[in-house]
Symmetry: C2
Subunit: 574 residues, 2 copies
Amino acid sequence: MSKRNKQRNGKSRQKGPDLPSNVLRVTPLGGLGEVGKNMMFVEYETPNSLDSIIIDAGIMFPENDMLGIDYIIPDFGYIMDRLDTIRGVIITHGHEDHTGAITHIMESVKAPIYATPLTRGLLEVKLKRAHLLDDITLMTVQAGDTIRMGPFQVELFHVCHSVPDAVGLGITTPVGLIVHSGDFKFDHTPVDNWPPDFAKLAEFAGRGVLALFGDSTNATTPGWTASETVVDDAFDAVFRRARGRIIVATFASLISRIQQVANAAIKHGRKMAIVGTTMVDNVKMARQMGYLHIPDTMLVDLNEALHMKPKDVVIMSTGSQGEPSAVLGRLATGQYRQLEIQQGDTVVLSSHPIPGNEEMVHRIINRLIHRGADVIYDPIAPVHVSGHAAQEELKLLINLLRPQFFVPIHGELRHLQMHGRIASSLGVPEDNIAVIENGTILTFTPDSMTIGERVPGGYVFVDGAGVGDVGPAVMRDRDMLGRDGFVIVSLTLDHDTHELIEEPEIISRGFVYMPEADDLIRGAQNAITTVLNRDVALPLNDLRGRVEGALEKYFYSETRRRPMVFGIVHEVVR
Amino acid sequence: MSKRNKQRNGKSRQKGPDLPSNVLRVTPLGGLGEVGKNMMFVEYETPNSLDSIIIDAGIMFPENDMLGIDYIIPDFGYIMDRLDTIRGVIITHGHEDHTGAITHIMESVKAPIYATPLTRGLLEVKLKRAHLLDDITLMTVQAGDTIRMGPFQVELFHVCHSVPDAVGLGITTPVGLIVHSGDFKFDHTPVDNWPPDFAKLAEFAGRGVLALFGDSTNATTPGWTASETVVDDAFDAVFRRARGRIIVATFASLISRIQQVANAAIKHGRKMAIVGTTMVDNVKMARQMGYLHIPDTMLVDLNEALHMKPKDVVIMSTGSQGEPSAVLGRLATGQYRQLEIQQGDTVVLSSHPIPGNEEMVHRIINRLIHRGADVIYDPIAPVHVSGHAAQEELKLLINLLRPQFFVPIHGELRHLQMHGRIASSLGVPEDNIAVIENGTILTFTPDSMTIGERVPGGYVFVDGAGVGDVGPAVMRDRDMLGRDGFVIVSLTLDHDTHELIEEPEIISRGFVYMPEADDLIRGAQNAITTVLNRDVALPLNDLRGRVEGALEKYFYSETRRRPMVFGIVHEVVR
């Protein structure tokens, strides 16, 4: 951390004998540093006991230069060392960045999971696919409920977010009350007509809040995040104007958005078709549980929809993040078997690009336009609003709760820092604000907060079936291979004389276009021959090294590229 | 293109005998489709003559999935077939996306380059590095000048942009007057106090404009782009507040921004150090030519700066796009030898991320914060404004010129489409608007515009010393290698029996971490043995194919990854 924090740390840390024996420790996990995502470990320690709870278990999407990585999970090492202390796992809402790692931790954690009904439904879909559902206790709780877990008493309070049934947490511990905001915004007119629980926040304030852990995702956004009703109006306008089919793409877990599209469809007399496995599953579950209100008569399957008049149909799909393999991505390249974009279609991208996805999203928009679609996206029209609180809302939360200590969570370091500044501007003393990177242990007593060391370990790459086996060395190789490819040269040498017996065989991919690289290959063979003639007396391994070195040099001088070069040598006894 | 355009095309195309014998052809080049950048080819043809000019020669930065590519240039095939018709090359301003390909075309084009003094200076730096300067005629022109080139009479008019000395073009042809906006915004209070040349635009309108080719970069941005004075105020605030060093990063060619930083430095009594080769060269040149007004006494070199009091210094550098190898990127990772970010430093990123760079820029911001810097970037403070016209300015230009035909240029298809809609909303008939992808030939007569075919060829990748040798096949391989790496298995078999003589040698990179993959490798060796035992009677080539297939299957079943697998077989006669 910055020097300022180090100083603060040094100043307020209480050493060995002075450290109170009963302390609360809170560690935001979810990967270290800039790729961290949402998870928290809360421990209460006395000389005789250690109890803990886990809040959320999110994944992070890989950045553009993390080649081949499917997703990233936190390093659970710290938790795995304390498995028998865990009293429960609480999931605040059903989005991937809070639930995506649940199967990874529940392979080891034996405590029950607590979640509101919709969140539970979304978790069940995941756990079932991982064949873990039978081994796990899932407890359904409601906003307003209190869960007792060892020394922790957790009160769930309703928050507005872009998925229904989201909660924040008031956690009463022997050291004091800490509040976890969850992902939230203060929407006075939410889709489900369930405004934020201001009363509970006021009640917390009355009891006195030791520390607030606040969602920082939009901390650099000035003002107040627009209400979901803005999106209603935008959809209304789109539906009013569209003459042909409407295709709306969003996240599969954005249940509120699906409801909004359904409302517009009802109003404008269109039937609705859902495409994409996860979205179909989620809609089914959310309707069964009463979180999505779509009459049976409204829904048609895609085949039916394709045989109806274009103006009578709205199709909902995934792929709003530009994923080439999702429905929208395949529509954009004409590779979706059942459905083809046609002149007169209106395509709505109802989500903002996750940072790093902008280019892919724009590419899909351009391709859809190229195919004749009218493409609507923010900022063309406000067909999406964020689910996260902007600066004025963040101020409101802090002022409502008046916490003694403040810890910004959820976001990159730049968001956390800005959130810290906001708290400071409201009068929270600088020393009572902890802008920390994930993995840093915070220790609380009833009147102190100490910034501790970071737990070992960083984030963990998930690639195919492998969890954590791909590390920096493999990533470096992928980067080099992706950039300049490789060349393999296979040499067959006489065992005694080291003479070349056959013409060297050269295999290369990703470096140059081999069918048109005859000159380059001939030059490479000459370079090999030169080395073999010169260094014939060297041991075989050294000879191979010389050949590799000569080829690297030759290829760079000819192409200014640096393919990986490998030599394979076979000796033949003649 | 969309069906609508095709219909329009079909409707208005005039076939063989009807086609007037004297026509103007305009072809926006600069790569096809979504990665296109800024270049235009203008031809006038009569039964006895063909004359042409080139406007701009830009490069495009590679997208995130274009692995290993340095930059992208247009396919010059169409131009190369018409080399002897070219009467001149005009460069509207000195930014990379308008000048970056100049060395590539000037290897073949023998006509002179026309540019304003600063643009010429920036071109000379490039041409010199490519050892082309001696072979080329560079003509200095000024806004207000008229250049006669064959049948074309080109009037340069001053426009405001984020580099001084930028111009738009009024090109009088035998068919009519066409106007090329250049990159522009309508800044009433620009840094160089040289407002847009409204009089010339009004004069063009009086003469009658056949077609306007308008900059669409910000066509999806509502309102009016803020003046550069906004940046002045933001810098003033930053300089007033900063207690330590200030480091400002921007593009090396953003000469106006460098002037603004210098102005703030003068006002607040700081000396200025410039770091980064290109920025140093550009500053030197722009000061010599009188485009940068920085007194000698203001400038110090970096070493001097580092020995001064932090509050007496501002350092200007490159790297605002997150480039890891530029100065700011190296500061963020602590790899800049002379300079280290310290607590109290204020770092200003004075540019917007180019689409696709957001993630890298944010990563650098986070790392700088981590090192203790106070990082200022838009939207934290308006330390950058765009150099391109937003929607209200685009409307103003169209209404000032009242063109008969309108062609949006510069931007992705989504920007061009929006710009077309803006023109349509102002009353330009739909049929007189050509939303076309780069490479499409437009043919003009005094009262018609016809959308023609696209010229063959797309964009060309530049990778190291190779121009155009890396195509789809190599890119596909790089993508696969970057994602899952490769495995090479080298087999030594008995010539007669096809028995394995040595243990198979397995080389792999980018797939799994080999030092910990013993089990996987053993399994692979078993899979090889199984195939060899079973298919021993097959010809050697088929046998190798079987081994590769078996390994691909085995690796996928074990890891859910798909490395490229290659077999190399050596036969040994025993």
